[in-house]
Symmetry: D2
Subunit: 297 residues, 4 copies
């Protein structure tokens, strides 16, 4: 159902901490122009847990305006299943193409609870669902055994594989074939995941470097692996910024230099400062200084 590069876009704020829809329209547009295949709003990178339900819906609408016929997914990331189901319902009503669902971001559900929570949200929204499995960020792992149970419900169409272990991709393919659209959710494991058979990439650094991300994906798809690998090697110090407690601030700072936007975040997050800011800026500038010319594809 889904494949290709899906940016998990950042949310843009005004100086007085309200949503900056004009800037989001511009930034989301860069993604679509570069050839991305869909947009995911209000994820971890989109500071979903710091947005109200009304704000989430507003960001969804802005993305829909930009995306045209490409799918726009809203992330469901609420601590309580009651609230998760409520936002899923609203997203459906607003015409979201699908949902990316975190089972439980504070409490660590056991397998039975994980399956029940995901199912409750899928039923409430009645939309295609991408299962977001990220045991490092949320300490809830949607395992292959859980997927087995979820596979009976056709609403679960895709998996964002963020276990941080590349082995999991082959395990999913060995177990389920193409039952689920397999997306990698970890930027600096993306080349490896595409090598073993993933068909999608929920990407982070793409928001600052959309053309390079799309190039890697498309070149891999065409079997031009060495060209893809060369870009990936250049890209790696940047992609590493996605695997960090500070991924939001890191990536927004990359955006500052790459696409000329701001790096405002919502509290408790604060923009990077001091040594950490300097380190990330150096990584971004060093990469920009030797930015590769992309081949046609």
């Amino acid at each position: 159902m889904w494949s290709g590069v899906f940016p998990a876009v950042t949310t843009k704020f005004t100086e007085d901490d309200r949503l900056d829809h004009a800037e989001m329209e511009r930034c989301f547009g860069l993604q679509i122009d570069a050839g991305c295949d869909g947009i995911i709003v209000a994820g971890s990178l989109g500071e979903g847990p710091m947005l109200s339900h009304d704000e989430k819906i507003d960001v969804l609408k802005t993305a829909q305006k930009v995306a045209g016929k490409k799918p726009v997914l809203l992330t469901v990331n609420e601590p309580g299943t009651r609230e998760a189901a409520a936002i899923a319902k609203r997203a459906a009503k607003e015409g979201a193409s699908g949902l990316m669902v975190v089972p439980s971001p504070i409490y660590h559900t056991n397998p039975q609870e994980t399956v029940a929570a995901l199912t409750a949200v899928a039923q409430a929204g009645d939309l295609p669902v991408m299962i977001y499995s990220n045991r490092l960020a949320y300490r809830v792992d949607v395992t292959c055994d859980d997927m087995e149970k979820l596979a009976a419900d056709t609403r679960f169409v895709a998996i964002k594989e963020s276990s941080d272990d590349i082995r999991r991709s082959t395990e999913i393919i060995n177990r389920f074939g193409d039952r689920f659209d397999l997306f990698t959710g970890v930027d600096n494991l993306a080349f490896e995941a595409l090598s073993v058979g993933a068909i999608g990439w929920v990407a982070g650094l793409v928001v600052a470097f959309p053309r390079e991300t799309v190039a890697i994906y498309q070149l891999m798809k065409q079997g031009r692996r060495e060209e893809a690998l060369a870009i990936y090697r250049w890209f790696r110090p940047l992609l590493d910024l996605d695997v960090s407690t500070y991924l939001v601030q890191n990536i927004k700072l990359a955006e500052v230099h790459a696409i000329g936007t701001n790096d405002r975040v919502r509290m408790p997050r604060q923009p990077l400062s001091g040594e950490r800011r300097a380190t990330v800026e150096k990584i971004v500038k060093d990469a920009l200084a030797v930015r590769p010319t992309l081949p046609s594809f």
Copy 2:
């Protein structure tokens, strides 16, 4: 300012998942009757992240009705600082005695952000604050260096020490003397914490066993350590239920057998089932079968 046993009470739900104020009144009353020194609502054990702001305030009011002149604290446990400040303000308006504040339950703040988030909430509520440091549950550790910075603000009066490392208690005392009221927040480290100088206990199993919890505290205070230790040894298999991903379900199941209530929880949590339920029930029943006669104190 504060000392003694402060139960972090469970929230009671009706069969149709609304707040059961009558049952909370009864259960909170057992705590006060047994000699507890305050009540904390909407904490981890109170399923705070699954309650709306309106519900939190309603639980606060019920506790206030029962507690008389004893302090009632509301837990601030919101993912966004904006929402955390908002509920702090409402709690103050409703006459809460203080706040127990988690710095950041989803995002893992760095020290500077931790201090900023706690400070923002304290300023919004302008109430005495118990700092809730629990690096295992929330992966944010309020360290001694952070406390140093917070010490300048007199609103920070107490620490709920839940680092899961008993060494931390002595570190806090060595560094700050009695600047902060030191509460242990880990049931099965409580005797040890009181031995090295903690003056309070934010307790969990107390909701099912209030008299035993108060007895340990009071006997320690009177220097009757061997009597306290004997009760503590009996109590340990029960207290261990507090240190678990399933602490809410564990402790509500203990309540079922000890004080005749129900163990309803909010999704994504589910009541214990199968082997885990049987194991916990055996622990509770085994303890009840040899429940010690408490000395007068």
Copy 3:
């Protein structure tokens, strides 16, 4: 200097716990016949820490007899650097082609100590060295910064990359180009490592399945990736047996069924028993039942 498949062979024991040289000759011969490119003795898989120095040298000689002109490396895995240097010297005297060196298997050296220990062993043996970096097994990580320091000594020619994180391979290539021969040391990350540029594989399951292991390597080298991937997917449940506390027992049990040998180990290890033995046997038999026909290469 080195490339291809290097089995880390198991050590064979008689019923009365002495070295079984006849059986080792037979088993090592299967590796060479299948087209492996070298042999490594007395590694983790070879129960090196349970062999005396005399025994290590005897195993080395047996491997040399079988390997012909292909390189034979001895693993240096002694807790003390004094003993590590001593066995390195003996190996050199016996004509070993090189050493695979663990910095420190009990004490967790800091970077300065890691570099000093590796250097002391390299100087004592004066042989080409493969650096064995395995932070999971030994809790000493030979990082890229450490490699930078070691690169000045031309004796350090290769790296056995066992960090358990596939990202490290690209980091090494990005930093050092082809200064070091990059071997993956983790069976179930091998396809991914070869995909991003590793040129060698220190293999485990190869001892039971030498032809399949060599096939994957050679097909990858010839750019026949899809054929290699198909074998790898079949192989994965077996390769997973290499990443386990019980890798020695797991792999020896695979050898029992695949090449008709025994699974004797030295204490404190014991052969697998009970449920774990049954699980591993099922994995091996299931794989044997659908063993793929290998393409010519």
Copy 4:
């Protein structure tokens, strides 16, 4: 059988890396003079894994000469059970009072293997054994279930409890009463362990501060808890040096300043240098500057 303070003494080396028996005699003598109740040689702190069997026996003899009628234990810490049994036998022949036995310092035994390895060593030595359970250093935990199996063999008389979790002490007492002599093996959990019922302390900083260590123990035994706690609070920054990858170097550096010896270690260890050395020296000097006057006991 055993109780009180048992120093795990450091091993002293000459400038050319041989054993310095004269210096060991002097240093061990300070321990006995201060009132320690036994001596343990060749432990983690004694760099046991860097000593040959002959050297271990020589250190044992030196300790015996100093200890008089007090017990001297030799630590068995060999990677292979065959070698562990061999040194146990030699220790018995030389009149060791007992053995402190690590189940397996490199391979991580499962429970069945743990019990088998400990039993093999106990049978070989036929001496009283202190079980050394240290899951952090060796990743083998001797659990209460394992102790249950070992309890049938009367040679297992004591436990060195180094799980790093103070809860374990109460679990052992709740399960086994006084079947085993319970020693804490973690300096900065010692006061807490004695508070809940441990009767012995395998101590580290004692080698530099024997009188303070003995004072805490004796005061606790006499019920003079507040006096003991005051010394413990002063002692804590020093005791923290025991819980570190660098405990040997830390404690030897404390010895430099407190008892005027050297801090030579065997490779791969190196003496502390740079910032780490400065930090530890500051801790030691700060503590010496406010060294408390000890009460009579």
